[in-house]
């Protein structure tokens, strides 16, 4: 589904990703772990198409296409979804209107009829229960005045609405209490259907107790320094990231 080969990326002239290789097959969950500043968010942003990232080398193939040539909106239509580490507040734009526009843009691209207000609301009510989000948040402006937890739930809610093929979760767990964490994980697990894939970026292994990964990768200084199965996450939990830094030769 997704193949990243020797991807090198610079931000503001500074090389951040220094040769990433990653292969994600349908239905797999990959965890990407690593210390702060190792480039996890950069990787997530590059996959989602955030402008301002300079690709110095390598390639990203998504379902047979060169992902890096696609606009962010096109990636979304083709099934990529990024749950932001810091969901953006958008004053003056109503959450419901925003999401309806997003859902319908994707449907249009798929050649499906647009959802009218009634059908949309029905769908939204169904999905919002999945993440135990307060329904009145739909009427507010996008993320404006939401608590940290509400913002993260809103991300997962959007993901449930847009039903991506590849969900990228960037530290969705950070700042969540244990109950919220479980809810978010439940939401993600409900979306696991054997074909949908996830890249779960996290700093702590705690989330992986609830979203069980097939593969775990450790990112340090812009490189994947180690890959393994679930036990690697536990190992990291015990030993901390110091050895990783050494392994990366910092």
């Amino acid at each position: 589904m997704l193949t990243i080969k020797d991807l090198r990326v610079a931000v503001n002239g500074k090389e951040i990703l220094k040769g990433i290789d990653l292969e994600v097959n349908p239905g797999e969950v990959h965890a990407v772990m690593g210390p702060n500043g190792s480039g996890k968010s950069t990787l997530a942003y590059v996959l989602a198409g955030r402008p301002g990232y300079e690709v110095l080398g390598g390639e990203v193939i998504y379902e047979g296409r060169n992902l890096l040539e696609m606009d962010p909106e096109e990636r979304a239509w083709e099934g990529i979804f990024l749950a932001f580490q810091y969901p953006v507040e958008v004053p003056g734009v109503n959450n419901m209107y925003f999401l309806k526009a997003a859902v319908n843009a994707k449907r249009k691209h798929q050649g499906l009829p647009e959802l009218d207000a009634m059908d949309f609301l029905k769908l939204a009510r169904e999905k919002i229960r999945l993440v135990h989000m307060r329904e009145d948040l739909l009427k507010r402006n996008v993320n404006e005045g939401f608590s940290g937890g509400e913002k993260k739930r809103n991300e997962i809610f959007q993901m449930a609405m847009l039903e991506p093929k590849l969900g990228i979760l960037d530290e969705t767990d950070s700042g969540l209490d244990i109950d919220a964490l479980k809810t978010v994980a439940e939401g993600v697990n409900t979306l696991r259907d054997g074909r949908r894939s996830f890249i779960v970026v996290t700093h702590y292994q705690r989330l992986l107790d609830y979203i069980v990964p097939d593969h775990v990768h450790v990112l340090a200084h812009g490189r994947i320094v180690k890959s393994g199965d679930r036990s690697l996450a536990l190992e990291l939990e015990e030993q901390g990231y110091a050895w990783v830094e050494e392994a990366a030769g910092a």
Binding site: A48, R50, P51, P72, A76, G92, V93, L99
Partner: protein, 447 residues
């Protein structure tokens, strides 16, 4: 310079020719007032960019024209021609003026409550000249500038509204000025006089539209008086035509505990200049000034505001926003002046601008002048572009870039529309806003 002088002579000659036919002609006080206006205009001419108050706004395009005073009425216009300007669902006392003259066939004054006088000014001059005299020239000095002087000499019509103490005018007064484009450039000099007695309440919608193309000038003076505890909501919506120019001076005299709220929305016109002043002349007076300007092409919008806090416990909240596209230009100049002794003043002022193109420009200057020590004042101004992060967030959800830009722009402007209590006005403005923004087509149903 020589054209300008020749054009000054044109106005003087035209005045001599028309003076006898102006509304109220023959009343000594009014004749004298008009003469005073003409003399002031001869002396002042049009403002120049060398004057501080007009530094960023050139009126050369006005100076170059020889505007005639529209004399013919546009017969044949029917209610349907007003279109959406009637504001669907609006129950109002409607007064329509065509090229500066009252058009009775289009007006729907309706039944006014006892204690309310609402009349076209030209009629009021016939029916209650003393009450008109008591208000004319009290707030806006004839000599303030060339435009106020011209208005004094030439004003033909407008709204005269008096509400007696304690009376509430439940339905708004909708003053709709329609300019029908003509081959020759013409100027309309309009004057609105509003007096609310103690504790009286009213809502006034001052609205300008154009039908067809044509070069014209609307030169407006508003003189408003709010007696103690009176309450006025004043909507002003400028949708002048592509070649329309709009110059206005609005001055409100506020007595104790009175409340004035202005919603000033500038969308159309080649040039719009508003001079808006609130004079808080007694304790506990309160004013709220909301403004929104959305410009594109080569439009120019200039809002000059001034709030005078003269007595203690006054409150003023001012909030202006601008969205500028194309090669358009905006000017915001807001003075808050706290006079000595005006303790416990609470004054806030903010002006935020969104530039949608490299060629668009804004000059913003908030000014606080404080001569009292126990006050709470704040002000601020910002100029920015669309937020990259917000744009990316929307696009990452599959919203096309153009739509995302439109949504953000609409969102930026919308909080000024939100404040509007009058639903039909708000709906029309929302609709106009969507239409005016880039990518309007993708924004259906945004409100």
């Amino acid at each position: 310079m020589s054209t300008a002088v020749a054009n000054l002579d044109h106005y003087v000659a035209a005045f001599e020719e028309a003076a006898g036919r102006l509304p109220g002609a023959g009343m000594p006080w009014l004749d004298a007032f008009r003469r005073q206006g003409l003399a002031a205009f001869e002396r002042l001419g049009f403002p120049s960019t060398r004057q501080e108050e007009w530094k960023y706004t050139s009126v050369r395009a006005i100076e170059r024209e020889r505007f005639a005073l529209a004399t013919e009425t546009c017969a044949g216009l029917v209610e349907d021609d007003l279109g959406e300007a009637r504001m669907e669902g609006l129950e109002a006392h409607r007064f329509v003026f065509l090229n500066g003259r009252h058009a009775p066939q289009l007006s729907r004054p309706g039944k006014l409550p006892t204690g309310v006088t609402a009349l076209p000014l030209a009629e009021a001059l016939g029916m209650c000249p003393d009450r008109v005299e008591a208000l004319v020239g009290r707030r806006v000095a004839v000599e303030e500038n060339g435009f106020t002087a011209l208005n004094a000499a030439w004003f033909t019509d407008g709204l005269f509204l008096e509400v007696e103490p304690g009376v509430e005018l439940v339905h708004p007064v909708h003053v709709l000025h329609v300019t029908v484009g003509r081959d020759e450039p013409d100027a309309h000099h309009l004057r609105h006089l509003i007096h609310l007695g103690e504790g009286a309440r009213a809502v006034v919608i001052e609205h300008y539209i154009a039908l067809g193309e044509g070069v014209y000038l609307n030169n407006v003076v508003d003189e408003l008086v709010l007696q103690p505890h009176a309450h006025l909501r004043h909507y002003k919506l400028v949708q002048e035509g592509l070649q329309g120019r709009h110059i206005a001076a609005i001055d409100t005299h506020q007595l104790g505990g009175s409340h004035y709220r202005s919603h000033n929305v500038c969308l159309g016109g080649a040039l719009t200049r508003n001079e808006i002043r609130a004079d808080l002349d007694a304790e506990y007076a309160e004013c709220e000034l909301f403004g929104l300007y959305v410009t594109d092409g080569r439009q120019h919008v200039d809002n000059h505001t001034r709030v005078d806090h003269r007595k203690p416990h006054g409150t003023s909240h001012e909030f202006y926003k601008g969205v500028l596209a194309g090669r358009s230009r905006g000017v915001f100049n807001g003075v808050v002046y706290v006079h000595p002794g005006a303790q416990k003043t609470d004054a806030q002022q903010a002006n935020h601008n969104l530039l949608l193109s490299r060629e668009a420009e804004i000059d913003t200057k908030p000014q606080l002048e404080i001569y009292a020590d126990d006050v709470k004042c704040s002000h601020g101004a910002t100029v920015g572009q669309l937020d990259e992060q917000q744009l990316f967030y929307l696009r990452s959800r599959g919203i096309p870039e153009a739509t995302a830009a439109g949504m953000l722009t609409y969102g930026f402007a919308h909080d000024l529309v939100e404040h509007m209590g009058l639903e039909p006005v708000r709906r029309l403005i929302e609709e106009l806003l969507v239409r005016k923004l880039p990518h309007a087509a993708e924004l259906q149903g945004v409100g």
